[in-house]
Symmetry: C2
Subunit: 387 residues, 2 copies
């Protein structure tokens, strides 16, 4: 069956993999922003002012809910990092170090992982026993600070996180010049990369009417094995739990550029509701990039608190809510975007009244393919979802 | 750029997706084994003997190191589960329940996740307050027991785990009838499924000389971005940490069927050594399927304890060994397959003498592409690896 040849692979695609004009232009802009940041520091130093950086504050108190746009946004507050202030000197130095690494990355046209950037900057300061960084937990927030301060996304800073999630369905994409037919991806699927900006990934032929996004890879397998995407003319994605930025950004691009509705099938528990909230409105720590990540029109199809009765599920699917779950559910119910919506208040309070949560997998107690052949198609037909 | 059409996707591939003769034959055999298991119980009952099951014991004491084959194997010990014994009655019933679910799965030609099988069997026993299963932690080992008792792998029982890992490189595979060219998979790659048996995945054209397996997705990104697999004519895989069974099985098939050496790039720490050990010799809990998973010829290319000096790395890459690390390193050094090998004793003891561990990412302190352009190519050319 297997055939091995000794012929070397030709590299026909090299041309199309060369840096696109759009990507070169984007990189030039980001480089200019880093240089401006450094120039500002130098200018202050030469005019005998304290070298310092202004960093917008990423905190709950500086996060606002934009009702009209339906997304979380960052406020106007900033904090100052000064070279000659014992409290902020280390962060000042760390911010400059990472800015320098990013400039090198862009210059070399390479990308690096968060951990890679941490290692690149980590060293013992000459003549001292002080490390620039001790742990990656110190390093990652500095990179988020730089995103905000430079007004450039992590992707634009050439930094990626762990890849997570897969996609199949009625779409063809181009990824770094390679054409990938997501209708022909077998049981494994196309692995979602961390950077999915238009200069890396372009959409080609797409017949799909919507995107079905499920929480877990194991649930995705059920939908893919039953060829749900083919029968229901859609794209099928998962993000292996809380979807990483690459997955959220790709969903947003599918929504904005191809006008595809994003319909989520998540667990009926506070974690499922939180995942939906992040997909829809953005998160507090990444509020500065909600406009690039949030999908205000995203729908929550299920699992719903009413499904225990509506689907006639077995007693055994109930998982008792813990005290933490109850606290978390009340917190989520008080989010301004959930608070304003009667149907969401009803949903969360029905779950609390039930006293139990339910996973998507619990539908298997009806039948192995109940979720793909009955549950989701019926809800789609009835437009029975929350938004 | 994006083009949406309203034409429905045709399902040309349906024929090639129909159940293959090999897969039908395999399923028939597994079904027969389940029926034989049930018949044996019924036969005992009708002849007024206690209904019981014999389950091979999956424990360290029943695991043997087969030096000639270079793999871990399960011994001959078994334990008995009886219907009329209070201690084993529940496990007897759980084993029968799961066997019945698996028979249904095979009959319907569907697969299910571990969690799905748990839900399928979970219910309250009629007339009591006793659940068949309370948690998935009770359910998963019963499935492993059935694998051993039936002499059938999880894949043959139609059960899958979470998908994890990706692949790119100079190979074309066929996955459920879809031809996938792993040379054209962009930045994301082909997502490795959980079930990779020959009736699901076949190898087609392959020019690669070897497989480079790296520990983490972020490191894999570096190698893929630098197109290492193209320059070095290989296949590039990762398993997102400890590789799951699907990834290990695929590596073994690439090794056995295509005769490709499997070369691992893992961290220089007890966890990296353990991952290598599992890839090479198998694990205790899955010793019964070492012959289908272990790759005795797998090589460990790095990171090596000598690399701190050999590569002239910065002080900052050192991560102190904790007491747990030291204990774990000594445990691993005492594994019979490591104990017998002088070079592995030297490697582990040099790491202990160093007093620190190092991650693959630490090489970034030399240069962003040092690992792909210098480190790995030099070690490959010098055949400088451990086995």
């Amino acid at each position: 069956m297997a055939k091995r040849t000794t012929k070397k692979t030709t590299t026909k695609k090299t041309a199309s993999r060369a840096k696109s004009a759009a990507s070169a232009d984007r990189d030039k802009k980001t480089q200019a922003k880093i240089v401006a940041l450094a120039d500002e520091i130098a200018k202050r130093a030469f005019s005998k002012k304290e070298p310092q950086l202004e960093i917008p504050t990423r905190s709950r108190s500086n996060t606002n809910w934009n009702k009209r746009k339906g997304i979380l946004e960052m406020g106007e507050n900033t904090s100052t990092r000064q070279l000659f202030d014992l409290k902020t000197a280390k962060q000042f130095m760390q911010t400059c170090l990472h800015a320098s690494t990013i400039k090198d990355l862009i210059g070399a046209d390479k990308t690096s992982s968060l951990r890679g950037v941490f290692y690149k900057a980590k060293h013992t300061v000459a003549g001292t026993k002080e490390n620039t960084f001790d742990t990656q937990q110190e390093s990652d927030p500095i990179l988020e600070d730089l995103e905000v301060a430079l007004g450039a996304l992590r992707e634009e800073l050439h930094i990626f996180a762990e890849n997570r999630g897969s996609m199949v369905g009625n779409i063809t994409i181009v990824d770094k010049g390679d054409e990938i037919d997501c209708r022909r991806m077998g049981s494994g699927g196309y692995a979602l990369p961390s950077i999915v900006e238009p200069d890396v990934i372009q959409f080609k032929k797409c017949e799909a009417d919507f995107v079905l996004h499920v929480e877990k890879g194991t649930v995705w397998n059920r939908f893919n094995e039953d060829r749900f995407w083919e029968k229901n003319n859609c794209i099928l994605t998962h993000g292996a739990g809380q979807p990483p930025r690459g997955c959220r950004r790709l969903l947003q691009r599918l929504n904005q550029e191809l006008k595809l509705p994003i319909i989520c099938v998540l667990d009926c528990d506070p974690w499922g509701h939180y995942i939906y909230s992040v997909i829809k409105q953005g998160s507090i720590s990444l509020a500065f990039e909600s406009t690039r990540l949030a999908i205000p029109q995203a729908k929550f199809l299920g699992i719903r608190a009413k499904d225990y009765k509506a689907c006639g599920l077995d007693e055994a699917v109930k998982i008792d809510l813990t005290d933490t779950d109850i606290k978390r559910a009340n917190d989520i119910a008080a989010y301004p975007w959930f608070e304003a919506k009667k149907h969401w208040q009803k949903e969360i309070h029905l779950m609390l009244d039930n006293g139990f949560k339910m996973e998507v997998e619990s539908l298997i107690t009806k039948d192995i393919s109940y979720v793909t052949e009955t549950y989701v198609p019926e809800r789609l037909a009835a437009k029975d979802w929350l938004d």
